[in-house]
């Protein structure tokens, strides 16, 4: 830049703007700086320009809340910065200077003033708050001179020098890069502190910072400055303008640091958005017992309950609350300590909710009894809280019901169905600690103290609890891998609690009884010692921690809907859930079906509102109990006669299965997929098991071995499976069709309607489907005649290989419906086996090759394109062809939205994802209407 040197305004700035600046023009050239505090030229809707924090500081100014004055440098500067080799627009420096001057004027303070120095905080501010970025630099403006002014003004020399040493430490680390090298075990500033403490209090371990007096802190500042000089070759900047310039650069620079990039990738935030920079006058929560800092929520972010919720620390700056170093007090205790401030905060809380019409998460500082607002934003919340808050805000007439539907992240909805601990088991369980309930639900697993080891254990298939003194962004990977998170320090606004809320992780934080030893990898509590890998259980709804494995029970909603063991009227969470689901039904264009292979699964899904079965995999039926033997007999048959014997034995089983399913469905449709997996999946692979099969079926074991060998495939995914089986062994299709129609006949006799939609898998060529459908129609006619009844059925196919997409026009001549099998369609379109992609797909995400895991969320530009082709061509042949999806993507909200834009008639997903899909479908319909 540099900020200080006053550039000439006017001609040259205008010229630059007209050449390459992205900003809107004004009389004075592009506007890059917006003020707030006393008055403002921004507002809450300007999040993309001012970032979330900046826009809301402006908005709070507008509605008269107490905001320390300051200004926001827009995100356009960030964009410019990266588009122009990390340089700034020419106009910027003058605008910053003007904004600082306005602050100086408003506060009667100025940069470097020896009496009333201006001190500022510099904070990043993207559209959404973003872990990994540079967060805050406090007390900027301090130097060897202004520190004395601060001391004089506050009458507290120790306070002033503590501010100063904190500033050097923070600025030295973040701006000047004085950080731990790979060879070091500790942060260099911490080493200096420890060494000073050692000199001052020899032989005493764990000396608290508070024991360092003003003189010691002066010495510390000296040593810090020397450390900076030694490490960087540069003196610590004493000029506040210089300091400001460095801090602004650090914020913009942090937009592209690794953690920020990882975070953006995970949440799909484009790099082009950029961050804003907020510069705000300091207020001090650490001037004494009449000051403090806190973080609060207008409602409980874990449960959604309408209570004033939060925490504060007396005589502390904001960072102390969030850092989790001291465990803060609950906000209600403020009532006793500072009743006036508490009253003011309650007033602010009410204004915030009324104005923003959403639960707010805000930061405040109390300076000598006066409350200042540093930030407000929509609060992150758990799925449980999201449902409760949204539905209750409708009841309170704060928002309308469509907004409630729009607001709940569909992905989080599954959390309300998550298991809770079994009451009986809990009674017997040994309670070992209690912390804050920060992420509701019950989790049980092996404890790990280190993110990497947690990831490894999770990859090995273990359920993992990550146990940390406190968490930091470095632990992110481990937190993602873990089922639950437990910390010894930190409150509901700590990093652990924040991340848990966002990811829907079960979390207990601030369980202060825990003694965690990272070196020894042990957790000691209540006399127990747990080693890495030992089991414990945590209840994120109550904050309780239990010894060993505690068995869990169904959530209230499942107790009401499925178990029928709980009176719906007695469950608030059920009531809210039910209300939400009713709204979804009103809105959604697409139906939501379920993937269910037996009556039990079907029942659960129907309870969640599924409108039918979208995928019933018949082969799962062949594995149960004794049936596998008949299946094997069929596979090992050398003649059609033997094969028929095996199939004849299977027929009654299949028929019974379908009777159960049709009965459960009570007239809802069921898409039944004919046998799909390669036959070798039904045969044992090891010699001993083969011999057992041979003996059981009375077949020489060499024959079994030979057949297993003959069935072996180099690429089973692309092998003899799907309709290829039904074409080479038409008897299988015939048997399955017969089982379906005979079952339909039985159930129809009971006056229950039956709507089978028979689905031929893995079709690529129209004639494959034609040949299979011929058999189905023939068998339907035969059974109809035998049983003197009629059938209302459809035939269709799964669209799951690329050829089916391009041949969809011809295939639609025979198909009554298409169901996209996006699991296999993804594998074939991408030429990527899901089973084998683990060796490179994580790296693909890191390298930004794929925006997200294509097996979790539909690859729109690839698979999605082919789906479009299939739909276009299918509809050209048969405009009213029924279209659905039955891959696992059917339960992924982003994919559900995509399916809605494609115009599918339904999505199908696993029973527990049905509510998620219903919400996503409703949101898609809302979005489509806009």
């Amino acid at each position: 830049m540099p900020v200080k040197s006053t550039g000439k305004k006017g001609a040259s700035a205008k010229k630059a703007a007209s050449k390459k600046s992205p900003a809107r023009k004004s009389g004075k050239g592009p506007k890059y700086v917006y003020v707030f505090g006393k008055k403002t030229d921004g507002n809450g809707s300007m999040k993309s320009l001012l970032g979330g924090k900046g826009a809301n500081l402006a908005e709070m100014t507008r509605i008269g809340l107490p905001v320390p004055p300051g200004f926001t440098i827009t995100t356009e500067v960030c964009t410019y910065y990266y588009a122009n080799k990390r340089t700034y627009p020419k106009e910027l420096q003058a605008q910053i200077r003007a904004a600082v001057e306005a602050m100086e004027k408003a506060l009667g303070r100025s940069f470097g003033d020896l009496k009333k120095p201006l001190l500022v905080a510099v904070r990043s501010g993207a559209r959404d708050s973003m872990p990994g970025m540079m967060d805050t630099i406090l007390n900027l403006g301090l130097n060897d001179q202004t520190v004395d002014a601060l001391a004089a003004q506050s009458g507290n020399e120790r306070f002033a020098w503590d501010c100063y040493r904190r500033f050097i430490q923070m600025y030295g680390d973040v701006v000047m890069g004085v950080q731990k090298t790979p060879d070091e075990d500790h942060e260099p500033f911490e080493v200096v502190i420890e060494s000073l403490k050692h000199e001052l209090f020899p032989g005493q371990p764990d000396v608290s910072d508070t024991r360092l007096d003003a003189a010691s802190l002066k010495e510390l500042v000296k040593r810090f400055k020397k450390l900076v000089k030694d490490r960087t070759g540069k003196a610590f900047p004493t000029d506040p303008w210089k300091q400001l310039e460095g801090a602004i650069g650090a914020v913009f620079g942090s937009w592209m640091n690794d953690r920020a990039i990882v975070y953006r990738r995970k949440y799909g935030i484009p790099a082009e958005w950029g961050t804003a920079v907020n510069v705000q006058a300091m207020v001090f929560g650490n001037t004494g017992e009449n000051s403090g800092s806190g973080v609060a929520f207008t409602r409980d972010p874990a449960t959604g309950e309408k209570v004033f919720y939060g925490e504060f620390l007396i005589n502390a700056q904001g960072e102390d609350v969030v850092a989790g170093v001291r465990t803060p007090q609950p906000v209600e205790e403020l009532k006793q300590v500072m009743p006036e401030a508490h009253k003011e905060l309650e007033r602010i809380r009410a204004i915030l909710e009324k104005h923003f019409k959403d639960m707010q998460d805000f930061e405040f500082t109390i300076e000598e009894g006066e409350v200042f607002m540093l930030q407000t934003r929509n609060g992150k919340r758990t799925g449980v809280a999201a449902v409760r808050i949204a539905t209750e805000m409708v009841r309170e007439k704060l928002i309308d019901w469509k907004e409630a539907v729009r607001r709940i992240p569909a992905e989080q909805l599954e959390q309300v169905l998550a298991p809770i601990f079994d009451r009986g088991a809990l009674k017997k369980a040994k309670l070992i600690a209690k912390g804050l309930p920060a992420g509701p639900g019950a989790a049980c697993g092996r404890i790990y103290f280190n993110a990497d080891r947690a990831v490894t254990a999770s990859q090995r298939g273990h359920r993992v609890l990550l146990v940390r003194v406190e968490t930091s962004p470095e632990d992110l990977r481990g937190m993602i891998a873990a089922d639950g998170i437990l910390t010894a320090r930190g409150g509901v606004s700590s990093h652990a609690a924040l991340v848990a809320r966002q990811m829907g992780k079960i979390c207990v934080c601030g369980a202060s009884g825990l003694e965690i030893d990272y070196e020894k990898k042990t957790l000691k509590v209540e006399g127990f010692t747990y080693k890495e890998g030992d089991h414990i259980s945590i209840d994120g709804t109550t904050g309780e921690v239990y010894d060993g494995e505690v068995s869990s029970a169904n959530s209230e909603i499942i107790q009401v809907l499925v178990d029928k063991s709980l009176d719906p009227k007695k469950s608030r969470s059920y009531q809210n859930f039910a209300k939400l689901m009713t709204w979804c039904s009103k809105l959604a264009r697409m139906q939501v079906r379920t993937n269910a292979d037996n009556p039990r699964q079907a029942a659960v899904a129907m309870a969640f509102g599924a409108t039918g079965i979208g995928l019933c995999r018949t082969e799962h039926m062949f594995f149960e109990g004794d049936r596998i033997n008949s299946m094997r007999q069929m596979i090992l048959a050398e003649t059609n006669v033997e094969r028929k014997a095996g199939l004849d034995a299977l027929l009654p089983y299949q028929r019974e299965d379908f009777i159960g399913i049709f009965t459960e469905l009570k007239g809802k449709p069921a898409t039944i997929r004919l046998l799909d997996p390669p036959l070798h999946e039904f045969l044992p692979q090891d010699a001993a098991a083969r011999n057992a099969v041979a003996e059981r079926l009375g077949i020489p074991s060499e024959i079994v071995a030979e057949r297993v060998k003959a069935l072996h495939e180099a690429n089973p995914m692309l092998g003899h499976r799907g309709c290829r089986l039904g074409l080479t062994y038409p008897q299988i299709t015939e048997m399955q069709a017969r089982a379906i129609f005979e079952a339909a006949a039985v159930v129809q006799k009971k006056k229950i309607k039956v709507r089978p939609e028979i689905m031929v898998p893995l079709v690529g060529f129209a004639r494959e489907l034609e040949l299979q459908v011929e058999i189905i129609h023939r068998v339907a006619a035969e059974v109809a005649k035998e049983k003197k009844t009629k059938f209302n059925y459809m035939v269709g196919t799964m669209i799951e290989i690329p050829r089916a997409c391009v041949a969809a026009g011809r295939i639609a001549q025979t198909a009554d419906f298409f169901s996209f099998g996006t699991n296999d369609l993804t594998q074939t379109t991408l030429g990527m086996s899901r089973d084998d992609s683990g060796t490179f797909l994580p790296q693909y995400q890191e390298l930004d090759i794929v925006p997200s895991n294509p097996f979790a969320s539909i690859d729109r530009a690839g698979v999605g394109e082919l789906m479009k082709v299939a739909i276009e061509r299918g509809r050209a042949t048969k405009p009213k062809i029924k279209l659905g999806i039955c891959g696992e993507h059917g339960g992924d909200p982003s994919s559900v939205v995509f399916c809605d834009t494609l115009g599918l008639d339904y999505v199908s997903c696993s029973p527990f994802r049905v509510p998620v899909a219903r919400l996503a479908a409703a949101q898609a319909a809302l979005a489509a209407k806009r």
Copy 2:
């Protein structure tokens, strides 16, 4: 129909025609019958309406050749027949009646006449002659009365009754369905004959038919009629009109028999074409020593030499010549036996060639010295003959050079490169038999006597010779599976010879010294006894049969072009080939490159006219000699340092390889594909080999085992391979790029231009290519700087997964070229593993699901559609993007034509397919111009 009852002409017929007849209208309603013989209303261009035989009978009539009178029922009747539940158009019966009446008038004979009965032959006649269809019924019109008239007229009672019993036998079999049941071992008519012989000549085995005198034949007729009555419940029809009706129905019926369907599928003939029926007055080659029948070619169909070539039998009907029961005499011997007839045939031969301007295959009958033409058609020929005939006809000014190019089936061209037996080896080989050279080339293999067993042996990977007394359409599958065919009976017009010519099989027929015992599965000859599976060798160019395995040598063309061991002027086949290739170059729009992994292959392909390398697979280089150890070291590396060591060791090898290739190419471009196969392909799979590797590399064997296990993939085709390797191990790409550019620098120093086109495999996402290309450009710049040179290179990608096709627009931003990898594109588009499809793909062809093997010929409606999408989108981004194909389809003529219509710039194929592809490319260009 029935034919006899005279329907009223006029109104009703017209009405029917206007309603649903497909035929053109005339004054008398649709014309379904065309006459020939004395005059004709058809001509040679009407093949789709009259069939090949019918059109040429009309054409021969037109040019004054002696044709027995008759008429053709059009193919439209066949189409009508199948479109209307096997019924005939109403107009047909009257038209047939009129045509028969015209014949009666012309010949002074009539159906059922007791003095001068009209006898006719009924023959099928599709556009092309088609094995499997009903061929001929001779002597139709005979019954208990007319047989006496025939006897009286011919003065030969035995002859008349022999005609009659043959007629009943043939008609009973083909029309009335008196055929062997699955429980029977012999044809029922043969059983009756054998039983009569047994009665007449007790105790004498193998009694010849000729020993049956007139009286015996009368008895035989009686028994035949009883057999027909017993088997069918119907009397043998005595009314000639009824007989004719049945015969016509049998021809149309045979269009849909299994063999005909199999044949059509193999040769891609649409079922809609239908067959015509030809009804023609009988002429008799079997009235005595002054009569005979024969089949002849205007040039030698095996070698293409311009000689009168063919064979005849004295005192025989046409069927005897083709059936292979009696071995016929070469046609030149007719000069001695019937000089006048021979002279007439020579005259006809000259007229035919001059008129049809192509080598003709014709059938004739000599009745009492007078020559009649029964059929002519373009003769099937071997690839060797095709090239010779076409090029020589240009020299003779019979056709122009473009017609020559058009006329040679591209698929057959590889035959001219087929190995011949090594001269040295031949001298030492033991000649065991000699037959007719019916399909040129040298074949050596295990003998099998049965089609099914030949197929099985071939599937097991054996080279197979099918050895039969004579072949019939039942042997077709076995002939396809065999490398060569050897028969003991039958001449150059026998079934074996015909099929061999058509399929380009090496064939020796009529090797009369062979004693074949199907029961014992033995071949006895010259005192040797060969069992099934033993080796022999056959030379289809000379007709010689050798004991055991005889080693083979290169064809003349390869001796000239590659070995340079033969003077081009001394090889006629080289001269013709070279001429053809020159013409191809003039015509073709597309270039033909080759798939070559080393300088030797490149040299061969360049000699055949390849314009560069279209696919150089670098991984093949890693298997040679000692390199595999460095490769394994690289794979087994646990750190990047170790990996680099392995790669550093590989670099000089790769560089040397590329130096060799670039030097050989002399400035022609080379598309080099970076490492593609999954790494486990380079590691040994069994424990012993693993231990050896471990020892050799000094790595604990458990580590090797663990790594092999870790690299195992469920679906390696869809696994960690292609650019996924280069992305997870960028060092590999870096090493390969370095090897390429360092080699280029070395070769450029020798003043040889180098044009590498570096191809990144298995790209699906644009960013995959971007990341790899970054490395390539960086390395290129580095090496250019180090070696003080510049490089003229391109970077591009293989389009081999469906996602690449839909994302081609984005990918083209980085790619200079696309090369379609249709092998993998077929596997992924169809979801079908080539390795595993053997279990169902043959059945898919039988069930008409796929028109041909999609791995041999591009699946146009599936893979082809995706190729179109890729081209459209790629060109939208980069209009001049270079497009090629490097899958094996690049050598398949039909696929080459398809690539031409897609507008590709080049095809690439294996070196020996280069001439085939060049011819196909020229033909495609000719077709495009039309």
